[in-house]
Amino acid sequence: MIDVRDVVVEYGKKAAAVRAVDGLSLRVAPGESLALIGPSGCGKSSLLFAMAGLIRPTAGTISVNGESLTRPRREIALILQNAGLLPWKTVWQNANLSLLLGREYPRVTAQAVLDELGLGEVKRRYPSELSEGMKRRVGVARALSTSPSVMLMDEPLASLDTLTKERIQDLFLRLWVRHAFALVLVTHDIEEAAFLGQRVAVLSDRPAQIKEIVENPAMGELNYRDTAAFADTVQRLRAGLER
């Protein structure tokens, strides 16, 4: 369970301070999925980085399973905007970055995770030798490698073509069901939010505040993209963003 309470994130000092997140509160229960959608530059990444323990909120608290968060933790995984792969490390090394950094976890899963994501064949390659979609999947493999209970994603599929994007969204859904992590997905793609969020929080312009929370209970149904419920959620999200 991740609990964000009255969090403020500011950059810079005093008069020159830029407020990116403005007293925002939200809760994500174990195994739940929440999508955050908002305009470009509104402070989505800042909020997510705070939830990953990478930046300390200027005010407010963030706690994970009752413990307050002060630094990155093994049970919280973060997938970055461009997968965040290190070009000088192979797919295998990138996927097992946590192991490389000396954080122990059951190693047997590493190969299994790569196979599950269809990366078993390319594990000795460098990122520059992969397609864009493969790179994102390596980012996913890295996040899964520590068996996290919370998965944070920062626009994980930005600038992918529609087909690849939908294929990986399907993958995310399967992984979410199978691995039962809580998912917090930041995106500015309305359909992505409607496809992957049980709830979708619509954020305001900078500084980010929650304007509205759209419930999306039918999410995860078979061929959800083709249903009326999906179209309805998309409709409501669009209205929420424009408001």
Binding site: L54, L86, K89, L97, S98, L101, E129
Partner: protein, 277 residues
């Protein structure tokens, strides 16, 4: 009949040039050296024609002279080589890490940048006399002069490279739980290595120039004073001088090749992108 044959010959040559195999690369190396020696020959002929004196001996003469001088030249080559290599090692092992730290840690940058801006633009040769006066003209000072020059070169470029680090790479290892040291080891160093190695290549030329100046200043013993001293002592024997210069060029070439090999190994990831998949 002549035309297609010429075409075929041309195709043969261009094929060899594009050939990326080991033999192909050697062939290109030899071709490029042949061009250089050809130009040298022409320059030598022109100078002889215009001035009537052979100030610039042709390559064949220079190489023959190198052979004739044999052990004497080699001793000097060896002296210069270890001085230069030692200076490079000292400068690299201090300037590179220090430059990275200054580029990464803001408070260090604030403190050291003014010093760098003041000291870096002064040509380091300006300190030679001072160093000679204080420490004498022995080996340590000669190595130190070269090391100081390269040190600043590497320091400034390491600092610049460390400022260009992609923040996403840092975020990526931090979120995987990296310590500060691990951030340096897994991101800052590999990401800056290519540009530092480029800078190291520039430093070889720079270091050579400073070594020459250091070696022609102070004692000049043609026996083991280094190539600079040898060249200076050969002022009135242009053939011997050309042999010394050629030996210096050879030293540079060896160092460049070594740096190339090091880059191929430590920056392996940069060379795989060209491999077709």
């Amino acid at each position: 009949m002549a035309k297609p044959r010429a075409k075929r010959a041309l195709a043969y040559v261009t094929d060899r040039v594009r050939d990326r195999s080991f033999a192909g690369r050697i062939a290109i190396y030899i071709g490029s050296l042949a061009l250089l020696f050809g130009l040298w020959e022409v320059a030598s002929l022109v100078i002889l024609k215009v001035k009537g004196v052979e100030y610039l001996p042709n390559p064949v003469k220079a190489i023959t002279e190198m052979q004739r001088l044999g052990p004497l030249l080699f001793r000097n080559f060896w002296t210069s080589a270890w001085r230069l290599v030692l200076a490079i090692l000292i400068a690299f092992s201090t300037g590179y890490p220090l430059g990275l730290l200054i580029g990464q840690e803001r408070w260090l940058d604030r403190f050291f940048s003014p010093i760098i801006y003041i000291v870096y633009p002064i040509p380091q040769v300006a300190f030679i006399l001072l160093l000679f006066l204080v420490f004498g003209i022995g080996n340590p000072v000669k190595v130190a002069i070269v090391a100081i020059a390269i040190f600043f070169q590497l320091l400034v470029s390491a600092r610049g490279a460390a400022k260009e680090i992609d923040p996403e790479h840092v975020t990526s290892v931090l979120s995987a739980g990296a310590s500060r040291f691990q951030t340096y080891w897994h991101v800052v160093i590999p990401e800056t290595l290519p540009s530092i190695l480029t800078s190291l290549r520039v430093s070889v030329g720079l270091g050579m120039a400073f070594l020459y100046i250091a070696e022609i200043s102070g004692s000049v013993s043609p026996g083991r004073g280094g190539l600079g001293a040898f060249i200076k002592a050969s002022s009135f024997n242009t053939t011997q001088q050309a042999a010394g210069i050629l030996a210096m060029a050879l030293l540079g070439l060896v160092l460049y090749v070594i740096i190339d090999i090091i880059e191929r190994v430590v920056c392996r990831w940069r060379y795989t992108a060209r491999r077709s998949t």
